[in-house]
Amino acid sequence: MKKIASELLVERLADWGVDTVFGLPGDGINGIMEGLRRHQDRVRFFLVHHEEAAAFMASGYAKATGRLGVCLATSGPGGLHLINALYDAKLDHVPVLAITGVQATSQLGTGYQQEVHLDRVFMDLCVYNQMFLVPVSIPALVDIAVRTALARRGVSHLTFPVDMQEAPADLKPYEGGLGTARPVHPVPARQGEGRPDRARSHSRR
């Protein structure tokens, strides 16, 4: 069985410690579902009835655990159903990764079934937002998406054209991605402007 590009996505998510993906399949993400099926020992797919609930679960999971919440929806209607709950994550500042499908690269621009450019639709709600064009970029872009969501406590969005999901996994020469180092959270300096010790004694209460 030849390795497909979607497996690179699932493996990379597992490397980041993701163990659950909330979602609902559709014909725009069959490749990603196959990637999840092949690696179900590392990442669990949690099937729901409505994509909005999947995104609420990702947001609620992040709120309750402090970890990254991940949701998956198909192209067009599936991705559009995520939006309200992704704004919940954005406005309450919790890290969420939304993964969607999009029409095959050969059909983009023709108004083919379910052609919705979710990367454009999501522009207002994301801290990171990227469509994939080639499998080799998967590890690095997943790394950036996850790290940005964790660092800026917001929503990252990755969208995969159908043909790319099922393409042979080809990593050379980018096997390593960018690594799974966690973002560092800043603490105010103890010298100069913004020194914590200058904050004291202002309260008269």
Binding site: T20, F22, F46, L47, V48, H49, H50, E52, A53, A54, F56, M57, A58, S59, G60, Y61, K63, A64, T65, G69, N84, A85, Y87, D88, K90, L91, D92, H185, P186, V187, P188, R190, E193, G194, R195, P196, D197, R198, A199, R200, S201, H202, R205
Partner: protein
């Protein structure tokens, strides 16, 4: 409040850095006054959680959950009047957690939040305290919880009403419009999904039903018919809000007689406390 010392940093680490710089104030008057006010407020709220009043008060339903839930229970809620009852009558003690849609204030996250929390913490009580409006939006996910074997508990305050909007309309001086449903019966849906479903219409049945639901091994839903005329009164009513209420009454808000009687009874309960 103007910024006096800007500190840019992650909140938890920044507060840790600030803690050693704090000095204990000798003058305790401000704190004492706030503590006294809080005690008075808690007494007033407790007086509103009346087990005897019929129709059932949503405050009472929440107070029963508060009393019976574990010290590490996770409560989720929706936006609207339900958030008011949850915030006022759920005590954060032990390792309890409480989640709602804080800034987006969207309807419907209560149940999916509880499912996600249950998945993350299999051994803890995960309770969704929701209204019929928010629950109906994503109620299919109760079935999701059931077939995934997640024992979430759902308590629905069912008044067939988009309550928050009704009270906003009245406070603005507009008679109510477009806020009432025909109240649905959710217990059969819970049963059809493979969970426990209990319908409650009498105040005396609230506690046994919630007790049964919390003790149930699988997912459970308690559908409580609550008073549709219960106002989520703000802590302080402004003159403009009171004027709006009076105007919407004069313009002919439907059910104004039952709403007025609830308002007066609430006031009397709080004075009695």
């Amino acid at each position: 409040m103007p910024v006096q010392v800007p500190l840019v940093g992650e909140a938890k680490e920044t507060l840790k850095a600030l803690l050693p710089l704090l000095r204990r104030k000798e003058d305790r008057r401000f704190l004492q006054k706030a503590q006294e006010e809080k005690k008075k407020w808690d007494q007033e709220m407790a007086a509103l959680a009346d087990p005897d009043r019929e129709p059932i008060m949503p405050q009472y339903v929440m107070s029963v959950i508060d009393r019976l839930a574990m010290d590490d229970a996770i409560l989720t809620s929706d936006s609207g009047t339900i958030a008011t009852w949850a915030a006022r009558h759920f005590t954060i003690r032990g390792n309890r957690q409480f989640y709602l849609s804080g800034n987006l204030a969207t309807m419907a996250p209560g149940l999916p939040y509880a499912i996600a929390a249950q998945l993350a913490y299999p051994g803890r009580q995960c309770i969704a305290f929701v209204g019929d409006g928010g629950f109906a939006m994503l109620m299919a996910e109760f079935h999701t919880a059931a077939w995934h074997g997640l024992p979430v508990k759902v308590i629905v305050c069912n008044n067939g009403l988009l309550g928050q909007i009704l009270w906003e309309q009245m406070a603005l001086g507009f008679p109510e419009v477009g806020v009432r449903y025909e109240a649905m019966d959710f217990a059969p849906w819970a049963q059809a999904s493979g969970g426990l479903g209990i319908r409650v219409e009498k105040p005396g049945d609230v506690e046994p039903a919630i007790r049964d639901a919390l003790a149930h091994e699988g997912p459970a839903l308690v559908d409580v018919m609550v008073n549709p005329d219960e106002p989520p009164m703000p802590a302080k009513v402004t003159y403009e809000q009171a004027k709006g209420f009076a105007e919407s009454f004069l313009k002919g808000t439907p059910r104004r007689v039952t709403i007025a009687s609830t308002l007066f009874r609430d006031k009397i309960e709080r004075l009695k406390s």
